[in-house]
Amino acid sequence: MSKVPIVICANLLIGLLSLIPQAVSANVGTAVFCPNNFQEGTDTNNEIILSRATCAYIRDMLAAKYGGCYDSFDANCTVERYVSILSTLKTSFNKAVVFSKGHRGYPYWNASPPNWNHMSLLSNNGAPVIDNVHILPYTSTKNVFTFIWHCETAEKYPAGALNPDSYGYYGMPYCWTTAMDPLMYPYATSGIRVYLGWWDGSPQFEYTANGMWNFAHVAYLFWYFMCGGATVNEALNYIAQTVYGVQYFSQTPLWWWLIAFGNVSLTLP
């Protein structure tokens, strides 16, 4: 028997072994949450299919770039999973990249006193992932790149960081980034982090953005472009040209709807 196959196998083995440290060297931790929500019929069947597929694309792109990506989809996407993954990102990595797609809730709307400052992300079973309870304690300045595709996730900032209410700090931009000093400004070009969220309602993925492009495509293009080394402003201008046929992001309906707080000149870490 020739030694050639053994030599080839051995070389392949050495090559593959060298990949392992890269895959597990955990400098940047990434996570994609997709709590498709079946409560009260909040998502259509098509929306669920699109969300799963698009979030899987995004997870795979991040996994390819960083050698791994935590994911939590469907029934797995509980409050506890949000907390545990965020805790791991905080304690085991130097920087964190997070994408979450789903619905927004008001956790204290029927509490005493009722409160409309605080918001939550709805987990798969409808239980709220509350801004100051389940997110803020498990994030830090390490959360340098965050995109929360739920309703109103660009609101209550900086008010919720500067003037906490009786329940505590509030608003997703602050709770995901802990950015208070310095504050993040919309579409700014300085700072160490960037946070993207929606002012008012976030479009469902099945919603047509323009022509044949829906918002699932918008999310896909954004992350595809980012994972290739682009900056946030380049990615947003690319979407403006590709999806809307205009030169600049400020000329699209997304301007001041999809708000990027912090430094839009940043690439993924």
Binding site: V4, P5, A23, T54, I85, A127, H150, Y207, E234
Partner: protein, 371 residues
Amino acid sequence: MNSQLTKVCARAIILLIVFYLIGCFSYAFATQSAAQEKAIGFVEKVLPLDLTKYNLTLTRYQKIMGPSDLAWFTSEVVEFTLDSKESTLVVTCTVQNNILISCNMIAKKGPVISDRQYVNLVEGVKTFLERYQTFTKVDSNDMISMLSGLDITKDLSITAGNIKFTLSTVNNFGTEILQFKWVYTVNGVEYTSLQVGFQKNGLFDSFYDNRLLYSIGDTTVNVSREQAIDIAIKYSETYSYTMPDGSQIRGFNITKDQSKAKLVAYPINSTVLRPYWHVELLLNQTYPGSVVGLTIFIWANSGEVFHCSNIAYGGIDYSDTGNLDWESPLASPSSSPQDNTSTISMGVLTITVIMLLVIGATIVRLSIKRK
């Protein structure tokens, strides 16, 4: 006999892998080179830069493939960094269907070293367009002539024949840009466009041109706005969508007076532009699936509906969510332990481990055979 067969198979597989890899690399190289050539040509022949002062380095190449339902879409991004003692520039070009459609330039450090001086900004734009016309060989004289005597201190809009020109100040993430935009229009519908942006200090910022990317098809408009809305409402009576439990949602109540329709000509699965009505029907309530409206596209010449999708948002209307099935909104997770058993979705690691197992097993098997 068996041994010989194994040898032949092993060699065939190795050869196949080698040929496959060579094929992949040469395809990627050829594609990259074509896009790169376009981009370099643009930088050298059109941009107002003194390239004798810069070292040009390719710093990024990315091919963007459309998702599975838009598999026809591809675009390539080519980024160069231009370095000199005094300044650093980043130039990013996008190539689609082998056509350069956009380019933007960012001064990362120091002043931009230009190869020429202009009397004013309009002259700068004019020279840019003349050089761009030579580069693309697309006649842009009608557009260039619209710059004559232009007052750039105020926004304006001029139409000459089928070309609508607008000058406006646009915000590009904090930088004020003077945008010169020419759009080819027929019966008020906008088709292809050339858009050029300069900073107010005269620096080139970016351009976008889809005139070569798209062709213009039948521009006939036989359907009026009112007719389009009526067709859309009629269509909505037959439209339904499915919920996760399999139930069909249909029978929508439309708020007609809030319906919107605009006549547009964006590409629809083709590079041929045709006018269609983009109609948005608002519903009188939120339907299951958070659906508040319908988007319906109707060809403007035939009145045929060719697209219908839901308008929906990700919020929860709290007027009707009192029975959301959660335990307690105040339940604290602070005792939740850190997840040490998280299953990290490691594509690379999983594949690596599987391959290691296969290779390991092969080596063991081969070693046993040799003995």
